[in-house]
Symmetry: D2
Subunit: 317 residues, 4 copies
């Protein structure tokens, strides 16, 4: 699609785009989206699905005891979004006094530890203007050392039924195209193919195959990615999941097809609906073995006032 930034044309093109792709999207106003369905004082969003019944629903799926690691190794040369890093320096070995010659090692790490590697997004990560999830105002809660509301310490460990929606398999490819937009229809057809339905509180994990680039082609991994369209994200949000995950960073298709929008899927999930995101998952084993239903376990670090957490989630069946 040809794009121009001359004002007169933008209006016209957006109009066309709206009709052709039905994707035009304006973030809901504060009045439209607040208070959250979880209550005006709520800080947990879809994390409120975490209840004993949810846990039991998940652990009843564990029949073989197999554990699948969905987390990436944290290394200084992994793919990073702009301006992020993971840097580690081994300290000198400290030989302690004592006849038992005990040496101690540890490392100092400098990293956006909430937003690198396989990562879990909290609600302070994204805004619509100056407004966070549940219409908490940025300036009311942002400090130099974290956020006084909605921080990662409110999330807790999550155990829930995980459903892998393998869109790559639906399309018969190991990996979707570089900017493939996953639609609501794709999700529904993939679920139908897998003979599964979603339930409120699920961890919905989308396999795009993009993760196979993580170790082999970081520049391409970061340059674009197949992912959810706005419509698909809105449909998913209606299914009321605990979290949405995928084997890429943005979850939404990148670049966003509508050029005047920046990563709207992040806003739809985190700001509008209070649904957590789980990014850069390693899904090759689950997809390869066609494991579509499992107990999803993730233990975000309780970073006080943090925007997210590096994690090492697992699928257990």
């Amino acid at each position: 699609m040809l794009m121009t930034f001359r004002a007169g044309f933008v209006v016209f093109l957006v109009f066309v785009a709206t009709h052709a792709h039905a994707q035009s999207w304006t973030p809901p106003t504060d009045a439209q989206r607040c208070p959250s369905k979880w209550g005006a004082a709520d800080q947990r969003g879809a994390g409120n699905h975490m209840k004993p019944e949810t846990v039991l629903r998940a652990t009843r799926l564990i029949r073989t005891g197999e554990v699948f690691e969905l987390g990436r190794v944290l290394r200084s040369n992994m793919p990073f979004s702009s301006g992020r890093r993971f840097q580690m320096e081994t300290k000198r070995t400290n030989m302690n006094a004592g006849s038992n010659r005990r040496g101690s090692n540890e490392e100092i790490v400098f990293s956006e530890i909430g937003q690198v590697g396989t990562q879990f997004d909290g609600f302070t990560h994204q805004t619509i203007g100056d407004s966070l999830y549940n219409c908490v105002k940025l300036d009311d809660v942002a400090t130099r050392t974290g956020f006084t509301k909605l921080g990662m310490e409110h999330v807790g460990s999550l155990i829930t039924r995980g459903v892998l929606i393998d869109v790559a398999a639906l399309k018969g490819v190991p990996m979707l195209g570089d900017t493939y937009p996953i639609t609501e229809a794709d999700l529904q057809q993939a679920l139908q193919r897998q003979k599964l339905t979603l339930q409120p509180g699920d961890a919905v994990i989308i396999n795009t195959g993009w993760g196979r680039l993580w170790d082999t082609d970081a520049p391409r991994y970061l340059a674009s990615n197949p992912g959810l369209t706005i419509g698909a994200a809105q449909w998913l949000a209606k299914q009321d999941p605990m979290l949405i995950g995928s084997d890429n960073g943005p979850i939404g298709v990148t670049p966003e097809p509508e050029p005047n929008l920046s990563l709207p899927v992040h806003q739809i999930a985190l700001v509008v609906h209070g649904i957590h995101l789980l990014e850069n998952l390693k899904l090759d084993e689950l997809a390869g073995k066609q494991i579509y239903e499992f107990a999803l376990i993730v233990q975000p670090l309780k970073i006080q006032g943090g925007t997210g957490s590096t994690v090492a989630p697992t699928a257990v069946r």
Copy 2:
């Protein structure tokens, strides 16, 4: 045991202690302890207990779906061992281009992320002289940016039967004394009281009550702690657990009663037997509700070449 630092008495008391408690300890030589029972090339130690049967043994204990958080909130003013810190600076909000006014937040963290808060110790954390677990030589594997063997990327997520041994409850106190040395007999009597026996592969968690100082008195929390004696640690190691945890940092009693030894329990577990340690656990809920058997789940970060990982473990029953 009465302790004094007046020189004349120290000699006498050490002599008595040696004979009375038979605690004098010399680290085993490389020849005595290597190769590891898990094989000469092994890097996982007691982590090798992680098998589907182990997972099923644990998850069969999940009957109510209750999840107990055993991890502490990560904050810049929590108790730290000397020279460690957790420092976080919120970056400026990045307002992305686009009509949807998407603001992005993230934080930069500077921390010994492997060795702060509730933490999981890997095998590169401790040495006997220049020798690590399985007699890997420090100089062969230490680089400025991590260790080329025995790093945290080899550990994986752990799910196993957890057993809380409540020594404080055995003694009828909310918290053991500041330097109370937990003996083998204490552990056995506590297990007997709780009508439980240990099994190979268990996560053995010792409640000392010391954790109640975490939020209220950091200086005292760090100055000393009740914990395992050498004898108790050796007895535990013989029970072949996957990991040993407690509600203090050192696991071993601190200061070590034998003044010429520095934290021998760390060496016994990590270097001699390849048993992981899980430190600074929050155990008040488990102890308060007398939950002594549960599924213990911990997902250490896969820090390449790292010595440990901050974690947010859970007990599920």
Copy 3:
């Protein structure tokens, strides 16, 4: 002075304060203070005084070749303003390949390197509302990794005539009182006593004696300090110096006598007049030897987009 924040009284009390102490101060509006006398596009402020004549005026004062170090040692336990630190970890020694057995050492530092120790303030350090020196708007130039205008790379090394105004000596004390407010009259009397007059482009250094607490009593050093009143700062600004320095952090008296003002001297110097500040100087030798006129040399680090620089300035005579 009794203070209240109930709105009705604030107006009354501010009025009273104005008349009693003649110190009430409102920051000048953008229209009142811009463009800077150095031009609308200027980024150097009083740094424009750096010209060959200025250098020669300074170096002609060098007669004995004695060098006095005015910089503090950078150490992790020096006095820090809130939220700042200087942390250093020595890297493991790297033994390079080669028959000459060359070992390399270096350290990684985590620090507000522009704003710790003996420090030089650039113009992005302070604002009046959303406006910097020369009415540059904060949001136009602030990025996550520095400022696109007014950064430290524009400052350059400074060599100019330094004049020590020893107010402590004027008052006959080794150290002024904890909240002693230095007035215009104090400065003028001290100069008269020292038989010196100020010239445009001078580095004006105020000795309060407060620096003797740097190594001995960090909490008191930070809790308050003798320093310039608003009136004294305004009089100094009129003398058109290149920079103003002192042996404390804030330069202005702390706490500010007018309780509704926060460190106005910083705004007067940096934002209104474009005069650099040089803080936490070590002045004991100069004061002890009554060296009041000298070549002042300071080489701020050229931190791109930075707000300031740790420095190690010298006085040479």
Copy 4:
């Protein structure tokens, strides 16, 4: 000198080089090089040349008041030696309470601040085996947070006569070849051409022209560089300078022509003779204007226990 990496030729060429240039070098033993000529307890090496006479000798060269900046801008994308970086995050603006609407900015920096950009090397930076300058033993002084002897706090600001030896001009080129080895003869001929002789205590600055790659071609800047041969460094050391500087990182030619040696010029200067190094200088202005004699001023940061310091030195004439 023609260089090749084809195995057959290397042997031959090394043989020729050894005999033709007499460059084979073994580091002197501790007995041969200690105690230092500055005394067995000395920590300052050639910094001991800093005396009032030295300063006056330098400042007498100041006739026009022109200041030439020899320091590079510190930026995150400048050329770095392996494993080093300069990373900066602007903190959120802190709006202080008060009617004067004072906003504060500062940045957090993570960097090998002693060893990046234009940098000054201290004596703990390099070893011969386990031995530093004046045969201080590494294990006796190295801690996790710096060195207990020979740290940067002992250096002080330096002011001395600077002599630029323009080897590129001698050879009639703007920039010497990528691996051009500067010999003793080159230095002597360049001095003769410039009608200058060296004096004890000088800052000897070598212009190779390599600095023109700093801003334009970082990979080539780092891959190799023209620089001093062992013979040239030994001859310079005999002239007893305070420091040796150049417009490249290693000062010595890189790669070192003798393939079994790693950067011997660093050892000769720092470890054997206690002569400081000043690296990555910006020399284009001095060379372009043929300014060969000047006052060299450098103010290393007083990093306690540090191995070096980023600096912003100047030449003044």
